[in-house]
Amino acid sequence: MSNVVLSVTNVGVSFAGRQVLDDVSFEIRQGEFTGLIGSNGVGKTTLLRVILGAQRPSHGGVQFPIQDQATRNRPLGYVPQKVVLDPDVPMRARDLVALGLDGQRFGFCRRTKAQRAAVEQALRDVDAVDFADARVGTLSGGQQQRILIAHALISHPSLLLMDEPLANLDPKSVQEIVALLDRLSKEQGVAILLSAHEMNALLPVMDRIVYLTGGRAASGTTDEVVRSDVLTALYGHHVDVLKLHGRVLVVAEPGQDKSDIPDHANYTIS
């Protein structure tokens, strides 16, 4: 229990009478890589907003057991789902990373030598030194993700929340970003909660999974959760889990609504 960085307990959220999240509970420990998996619209972003404190739950709560007692700051880094960076703005990648350190600070202040060194280190950590001086809006999707990760991690949070960071990336960039996050979680001991509607790219690195559907969640290791009996109970109708060539496929039985199965057009999670 001592190394739990996030505890979500019986969280429920409803909008206009519609239950978006219903009694969602799970824990994340230091250095764990957790995938928050579910199809579009099941409440992944809402859950992340609850964790961030931007959305008040109708019941339940969120705790950060190792909250910084000195500053009362929640030890969170966050990469939002949609970050539109204008290529015409002369904001260098390194400047955006530096704002991860002091972007919230009011008042006049110059960055210290140690802060500038921290920016360089953060750029090195995400292999972004080569394009650190380029306008961040002109970078590729994968390069921008590296910069956003450095922006989020430079203040050394114990938990990094990422909302669909792999969406709109090509398969090679997806592999590179997932490998980078895996390395960072191991090297820096930062826990990662990454939301995605695609599970397979995360299978090699995921320590735990929070599988979300119909407002309810099942959590545990991939082997504990991605099983026919667990997902059948979660969906409320029979689904099969097939493992083929290292990939997982969730298949609903004929006649069932597949809209809440991630990437249901393929009857799979991937």
């Binding site: 960076l85 703005v89 002369p90 904001m91 972007g103 006049f108």
Partner: protein, 298 residues
């Protein structure tokens, strides 16, 4: 030197005041202008200049200080925009348009009354297109104070403003009070527009607000450089405009100099066009590189 500077330029008191007032408002506008463009609030900036017109024309009508009218009008307009919803992207243009329409209607009334009921000559010309050579020296102190206030405000919120301008999502994620920062910025914008209206008139103050900043953003590699270049260009543009307007009295037979605001806008516009050349060259170079055949196995 006579072909550049007509005699009496440096010793002329109204010219000295104009240079001081012009440089001051150019500095403030240049800083605010960079953020106005970054935040895609150019329309709001332009609308506030028109709202300042309402304040300026009202000040003439009621015999108040023009600075009070321009700045007060801008602040009221900014407050109205904020209250209606300038913070939310979808309703921003709508709120700006509604306030702009209402203010323009009021300006039309005030300017009509200025022209028909007051003895002030040239009020319409002065409000809309400025008259920097007739600025009262007593305005210097309040203008310096307002300029300092705006610059201190922007300096205080610089980093949260920068992050929320580049990406409101990232700013919210860092628990920055984006709404408060936006409100402070639009109030600073309103004051800046009011100061510029004294120099170029309210109609043309958009040029000084956006021109140097847009040129600087085209040419700079980073934001700090853009801010420094924007201020430099703003001051040079304004001083050059004042010089050309002063010199122009020797160019026309009537001996009446041409309006300062015309020259400031002309220099600003030409500067922006010239700044486009390097950007165009980069684009052409990039297209050439993209089109060039690459080596490798066939």
């Amino acid at each position: 030197m006579h072909f550049l500077v007509e005699p009496g330029f440096w010793s002329n008191q109204p010219v000295r005041t104009a240079l001081l007032v012009g440089a001051l408002s150019a500095i403030v506008s240049a800083v605010i202008g960079v953020f106005t463009i970054l935040r895609s609030q150019s329309f709001a900036g332009h609308a506030l200049t028109d709202v300042a017109t309402t304040g300026g024309s009202g000040a003439f009508l009621f015999g108040l200080s023009p600075l009070l009218g321009f700045v007060g009008g801008g602040l009221l307009g900014a407050g109205a925009m904020d209250a209606i919803g300038v913070q939310r992207v979808r309703s921003r243009d709508l709120a700006t348009g509604i306030v702009l329409g209402a203010a323009t209607g009021l300006s039309a009334l005030f300017l009509y009354l200025d022209a028909t009921t007051t003895s002030t000559t040239g009020a319409v010309q002065q409000v809309l297109f400025g008259s920097i050579f007739t600025v009262d020296r007593s305005l210097l102190v309040p203008m310096v104070a307002l300029s300092a206030l705006v610059l201190v405000c922007v300096g205080t919120i610089y980093r949260p403003l920068l992050l929320s301008s580049v990406s409101p999502e990232l700013a919210r994620a860092r628990t920055i009070p984006v709404r408060l920062v936006s409100l402070l910025f639009i109030l600073a914008l309103a004051v800046s527009v009011g100061l510029t209206a004294i120099v170029t008139g309210s109609i043309l103050s958009t040029a000084l607000l956006l021109g140097p900043a847009a040129t600087a953003l085209r040419l700079s590699r980073n934001l700090r450089g853009a801010l420094i270049l924007s201020v430099t260009l703003g001051v040079i543009t304004t001083c050059l405009g004042i010089l050309l307007a002063y010199d122009s009295s020797a160019w026309v037979s009537s001996g009446q100099g041409l309006p300062v605001s015309f020259f400031i806008v002309l220099v600003t516009f030409l500067g922006y066009l010239v700044a486009g050349v390097p950007a165009l060259q980069r684009r052409v170079k990039g297209a050439t590189v993209d089109a060039a055949p690459t080596g490798g196995c066939h």
